[in-house]
């Protein structure tokens, strides 16, 4: 899932400026699961901003609403009226949600309340870790299901650098060395020979480096005029 965390309140206040009517929009999907921008967080955010605006002596009218997914037009249609009513929209969706609101409601000024951080998962209660870099050319089949692109600090493809120590990466004792994990897994599966193959330089054109990406599935498209 997409993992995000809230921006500091002061930064959000700066983004909102002195707008009179603020609509906080939560998102019921990824950011709900990572406790950053769901219904509950939207309510807390709205209450916090209301109180902060009172303390500052410039009370703002701040309401909140949460949609199932900010990244689909159909769900955004449901809040068209509330959006039109607001001077500014604070999206607690990921970066996709903020952009979907901006694109769907061109007259609206929308600002982000979250920093979208990574594609990852909760590894334990309250802890999320990055797992995928969406590089567009998955190599997990070579690495025992552990991604060196997302999880090695240097995205190495041919094994650990000299900075692997006691299972962690030299950049931070809290960061596991992806290549130690890969090594251990391949060893336990009797597949160390995979590590001996020289992996050629990666085709980064399939990643963000090739420009913004797009998938078109002709089999799924609704083509209005086929004739």
């Amino acid at each position: 899932m997409i993992t995000a965390e809230q921006k500091p309140l002061a930064e959000i206040q700066g983004l909102l400026g002195d707008a009179k009517k603020v609509l906080v929009v939560g998102c019921g999907t990824c950011v709900t699961v990572c406790f950053a921008g769901g219904d509950r967080e939207a309510q807390i955010m709205a209450a916090s901003l209301r109180m902060a605006s009172k303390i500052n002596g410039h009370p703002q009218e701040i309401t909140d609403i949460t949609v199932q997914r900010q990244c689909e037009w159909e769900y955004l249609d449901e809040i068209e009226k509330e959006i039109a009513d607001a001077d500014i929209v604070l999206s607690l969706g990921c970066g996709i949600g903020v952009q979907a609101i901006a694109e769907h409601f061109p007259d609206t000024w929308v600002v982000p309340g979250l920093n979208t951080t990574f594609l990852g998962m909760p590894t334990e209660q309250g802890v999320w870790e990055e797992r995928c870099a969406a590089c567009g050319d998955c190599i997990l089949g070579l690495t025992g299901g552990i991604c060196p692109i997302a999880r090695c600090s240097k995205s190495l493809l041919n094994g650990p650098c000299g900075g692997s120590e006691d299972g962690h990466c030299e950049i931070d004792p809290e960061v596991p060395c992806a290549w130690q994990l890969i090594y251990d897994r391949l060893e336990s599966k009797g597949k160390l020979d995979l590590l001996l193959e020289i992996q050629p330089p990666k085709d980064w054109s399939k990643s963000r480096d090739g420009g913004p990406r797009k998938i078109v599935r002709q089999d799924l498209r609704l083509i209005e005029d086929e004739a």
Binding site: R40, Q43, I44, A47, S48, R50, M51
Partner: protein, 68 residues
């Protein structure tokens, strides 16, 4: 206004099985507690979410008590 005449408003979220019962019993025994304490009965202190005290504070109370 001095500190002494200010009447603090407190909301006490009280578990129905213990703290709320205790308050009830205290009432039955004609014991007094300050009128600025507003008791809110909750099914369990596990019901407490940050939103509850936040809403109380936003409404103007000076303190929130969770009793259970």
């Amino acid at each position: 206004m001095t500190d002494t005449d200010y009447e603090y408003q407190i909301v006490a979220y009280s578990c129905t099985y213990c703290a709320y019962n205790a308050a009830d019993l205290a009432g039955g025994l004609r014991m007094q507690y300050p009128s600025q304490v507003k008791i809110v009965e909750i099914p369990c202190t596990g019901r407490i979410d940050i939103l509850l005290p936040l809403k109380a504070i936003e409404a103007g109370v000076d303190g929130v008590m969770v009793a259970g």
